[in-house]
């Protein structure tokens, strides 16, 4: 029975991520186009909104190329393990007051820990390609994703301290509006670290087209490549939803179905901001990436924790 439910939730998560990725790619193309004073997609559907409907079959039917020297088994299935953890992490998001697909007392920890398995899959796929550029990209991704786990977790910890629980539903229930100004720095840290976690610009050093072709998925094509892309958009969706739930009170000020819609709207705003950042700033250098994480974000997150701790005592 549990297995059946798990299967159903899995299908729902995959569908959510796939649909979100389709809409997300369209929205990203529009946002980036306007930032670059272009129109973006305009031919298919109103405002080009059906562009991805045309692109998905193309990806599905493209030739699936496996390099001759690749470690074939790992190469073929690594994309699934990149995509899987992202889909799984969707399950603990508190969509509205009192309802999350999986209500668990370690939900926040689950959300922070499970997608980290992605790192192993990325490293595997990079290694299996038997390609120096891919391997380099994979190593970079590993270093980056493990480093940014730290400030991201510390930022979320500020909210956990305030709520006094690791259960996402409890966090949403305990949430008060004045948490927003109090944990603003924590949200910024979470926002930046999440971008780095999903390897998006300006933190797309593992992909770095100009140096590494496409980094760890340079040799992938067709649907396998699309899995990487969907994992990126899935991570974006999950991080936006989770951030909106924790830092902006989930469905607050509404409950029920209206709360779900409110959460999604908040998440869309966060996603747009993520795209905005990507299309504004150039890519960081490796040393800038690391010093930013360890010398700026981590100390700031600790300061935020202290501030929250002081406020807790004062309450």
């Amino acid at each position: 029975m549990t297995l059946l439910w798990g299967f159903l939730w899995g299908v729902a998560a995959v569908a959510t991520i796939a649909g979100g990725a389709i809409l997300g790619v369209w929205w990203e193309r529009k946002v980036s186009a306007r930032i670059q004073m272009r129109y973006g997609p305009q031919q298919i559907g109103p405002f080009g909104s059906l562009q991805m409907i045309a692109d998905v079959p193309k990806l599905l039917f493209k030739e699936d190329i496996v390099p001759a020297l690749a470690d074939k088994a790992i190469f073929k299935y690594a994309p699934l393990f990149v995509f899987g953890p992202v889909a799984v992490s969707m399950v603990v998001i508190p969509f509205t007051a009192g309802w999350a697909p999986l209500n668990t007392s370690v939900g926040v920890l689950f959300f922070l820990a499970v997608p980290s398995i992605e790192v192993i899959a990325i490293l595997l796929s990079a290694w299996a390609s038997h390609n120096t550029l891919s391997t380099l990209g994979g190593l970079r991704a590993t270093a980056q994703m493990i480093s940014y786990e730290v400030p991201r977790s510390l930022a979320v910890l500020a909210i956990v301290l305030l709520a006094g629980s690791l259960r996402p539903l409890d966090v949403v229930a305990a949430w008060r509006w004045w948490w927003m100004p109090l944990t603003f720095v924590a949200f910024v840290i979470y926002f930046v670290a999440s971008i780095a976690e999903m390897n998006r610009g300006p933190f797309d050093i593992p992909e770095a087209e100009s140096e590494l072709v496409a980094g760890y998925f340079a040799d992938y094509s067709g649907m396998r490549w699309a899995s990487f892309m969907m994992a990126e958009y899935g991570a974006m969706i999950a991080a936006s939803l989770f951030g909106a739930a924790l830092f902006f009170g989930g469905g607050w000020p509404f409950g029920g179905a209206l709360g779900v819609i409110t959460l999604i709207v908040k998440a869309i705003l966060i996603m747009t901001a993520i795209m905005w950042v990507k299309w504004t700033f150039p890519r960081l250098r490796q040393d800038q990436l690391m010093s930013f994480c360890w010398k700026a974000l981590t100390p700031l997150a600790l300061v935020q924790l202290v501030v929250v701790g002081v406020v807790l005592v004062w309450l």
Binding site: V31, A33, R34, I35, Q36, M37, R38, Y39, Q42, Q43, A54, W276, V277, W279, T280, F281, R285, D287, A296
Partner: protein, 681 residues
């Protein structure tokens, strides 16, 4: 191995300009916020890229490639811009708005269809070319020698090598037309009861007369001089314009039904009020008759003369009284250059051209100045006339003051003079600083008004005067200008007269002439361009020979040269491919192959192949296509089962969205080439 700090080389583009510590951190944060602000602001602005037109969706076997040819040389004829003068402006504006106006036509004040001329000459239909040009440029043979050719200035070919020789083609068309003039010049039918009198037989009056004659009105023209032509007759030197050309073209107009009366000065021999009674409308195209002379000390001495008087003497008597004398010409315009060159031809020992402007900003056309300098004229730039030095009432020299700048910051005429004075010995001083109208006797006894500065009061857009039924055009309205500019005012005035005679409103639904602005071209690098692709060289008399007499300097193109020259025309904006091969030359991937044959009467694009397997969809070919024949289709997602199908030949490029891939199965065969007509030797 540890990397030492010194070994890490920071790229030159990356620098740490931020202050250390917390201040630097704040600086970094604020620069991030600034960057986000910039992109947010940009995203609210209107995109600068083009919005591609939505194309109809077609399904697999009917799909075309990413490029399409609208029309092609050898199958389609380019449209000639040929309309009645009263709707011509509207047609030009429509073409301009639809981006179908060729730059040569747009830049010409009279909007002469130079593209159509090129087409007809290349097709060896030269009398038709002459008649097409004559519709808007009443004296193609004359303007073909003296025009300052704004068409060639705007010619798209400037960008690639050298402009098409549009002006020499006018002249060539005239010379060819003279061979068949007798059979092609038949009086135009007079279908209207009303008649129009025109005072002055200059270019503007003649063009208005022709427009009115085409509309079926009787036109009577009066000229003060013994021979017609206005300023072309009295002012333009004969080495630039042989008089027989001028007279024969005007004779052609007389053959078309113009009633021309020479030697009658309206205002003296015949009063203007009589013309107003006899005719339904009167057009004053009297031009400017008086040279301006600066009232500086000594300006009334013996030996000081105005440019118009000087040129009149040179043109009519062939003698200006400067033989063996030193001539000092004041002015830097085209008339001044004409005076200087005429002075050389009438025997002056030394001719000095003194202009207020520096040598870079001389108002005369650069080619005129170059030719004058070749012939031995001395130019003294950046000086202003100070005093005519006299001795016993005779000119002995000229004192000039140095001029620091002519125009102020806003570009207005406001000369600034310095302290430096210099004297030049000379025997004759010619003032060529502008002309003025002389209207007193003309308007005596009428209600026409003259402004305080002696100018006729005229509406500058509709060319009406203060009296109903009296119109004015040409230089008397515009001030000194070009012949083609005068002709343009003649067309406008004719439109006003037509509306007046028909009892219509002069302003209602009337389109002003659109004035497009075209890019100024730098001189193109032609070092890699084949001689056969470049502009035909106009044969010119040697400088040392031509400076002695009034024989023409430019000798004209041969039939063959002219047809080759006309074939150089890119037929801009005609939407019919002319096989210029610029798309093939632009293509970074060598995906396009173009071949063309230039048989007279059988010019044809024999090959246009697009290899889609090489195409990168960059769009450079369509972007630079001068004709706009090559366009994007909006269909980029194309695939085939066979690589051969990726090559689009001429027929496939021309096929519209309908029908299947050009296999001939749908019964549509690719267009062939016309067979050139057999020519009698």
């Amino acid at each position: 191995m540890a990397v030492k700090r010194e070994d890490i080389i920071t790229p030159a583009t990356v620098s740490d300009e931020y202050a250390p510590g917390a201040k630097g951190f704040l600086q970094k944060v604020s620069s991030l916020v600034t960057g986000l602000g910039i992109t947010a602001r940009i995203s609210t602005e209107k995109p600068v890229t083009i919005r591609y037109p939505a194309e109809k969706w077609t399904v697999s076997p009917r799909w075309r490639g990413a490029l399409h040819l609208r029309g092609v040389l050898g199958r389609d004829e380019i449209p000639l811009i040929r309309h009645a003068s009263d709707i011509y402006n509207g047609v030009i504006e429509d073409l301009y708005k639809g981006e179908r106006l060729p730059p040569c036509v747009g830049n010409c004040p009279a909007n002469v269809d130079a593209r159509g001329q090129g087409f007809l000459v290349a097709e060896d239909r030269i009398p038709e070319a002459y008649e097409l040009v004559r519709d808007r440029n009443i004296l193609p043979g004359v303007l073909g020698r003296i025009c300052h050719h704004p068409c060639e200035t705007a010619c798209r070919r400037n960008f690639y090598d050298e402009p098409v020789a549009i002006r020499p083609l006018h002249r060539f068309a005239y010379e060819e037309f003279q061979k068949v003039a007798a059979e092609r010049l038949k009086p135009l039918p007079i279908t209207q009861k009303q008649s129009v009198a025109i005072v002055g037989s200059g270019p503007s009056g003649l063009s208005a007369a022709y427009d009115l004659m085409k509309a079926g009105y009787r036109v009577v023209m009066y000229e003060r001089e013994e021979r017609p032509g206005g300023a072309l007759n009295t002012g333009v030197p004969a080495y630039r314009l042989p008089r027989d050309v001028l007279y024969s073209e005007i004779d052609g107009l007389v053959a078309l039904g113009l009633e021309l009366h020479c030697g009658i000065e309206v205002g003296k021999t015949k009063p203007l009020s009589a013309l107003q009674r006899e005719h339904d409308a009167v057009l004053l195209a009297v031009g400017l008759q008086e040279s301006r002379i600066l009232p500086i000390p000594g300006h009334d001495a013996e030996g000081v003369i105005g440019a118009l008087e000087f040129l009149w003497a040179a043109n009519h008597k062939g003698e200006t009284g400067v033989r063996g004398k030193r001539v000092f010409v004041i002015g830097g315009g085209n008339v001044a250059v004409d005076v200087a060159r005429c002075a050389l031809r009438t025997g002056a020992t030394e001719v000095r051209l003194a202009s207020l402007e520096s040598s870079e900003e001389l108002p005369a056309h650069p080619w005129e100045i170059e030719e004058a300098l070749d012939e031995g004229v001395i130019a003294t730039c950046s000086v202003g006339p100070e005093e005519v030095l006299t001795e016993g009432g005779n000119v002995v020299g000229m004192r000039v003051r140095e001029c620091l700048s002519v125009f102020d910051e806003t570009g207005r005429f406001a000369p600034k003079f310095g302290e430096g004075l210099s004297d030049f010995a000379c025997d004759v001083v010619v003032f060529s600083i502008g002309q003025a109208a002389k209207l007193d006797s003309l308007i005596a006894g009428t209600e026409l008004l003259v402004s305080g500065r002696g100018q006729l009061v005229v509406d500058g857009t509709h060319f009406t005067t203060s009296a109903a039924g009296v119109f004015a055009c040409g230089e008397v309205v515009t001030g000194p200008g070009s012949a083609i500019g005068s002709i343009a005012t003649g067309h406008e005035a004719a439109t006003s007269i037509l509306r007046f005679l028909r009892g219509e409103s002069l302003t209602e639904d009337r389109t002003p002439r659109p004035v497009p602005v075209y890019a100024k071209y730098a001189v193109a690098d032609v070092s890699g361009v084949e001689r056969s692709r470049r502009r035909s060289i106009m044969p010119m008399a040697r400088a040392e020979d031509r400076a002695k007499d009034f024989r023409p300097v430019e000798l004209g193109l041969t039939h063959q040269e002219a047809m080759i020259e006309a074939a150089r025309c890119l037929r801009c904006q005609s939407e019919i491919c002319v096989g210029c091969t610029f798309c093939a030359r632009t293509c970074p991937d060598y995906a396009i192959q173009v071949e063309r044959v230039d048989e007279p009467g059988g010019r044809c694009l024999t090959r246009y192949d697009l290899d889609l397997s090489k195409c990168a969809f960059c769009g450079l070919c369509a972007e630079q296509c001068p004709t706009n024949a090559l366009t994007h289709t909006g269909q980029y997602e194309l695939s085939f089962f066979h690589r051969d199908l990726l090559i689009f030949d001429k027929g496939e490029m021309l096929r519209s969205g309908e029908g299947t891939r050009a296999t001939g199965r749908d019964g549509v065969m690719p267009p062939g080439c016309p067979v050139p007509p057999r020519r009698e030797q």
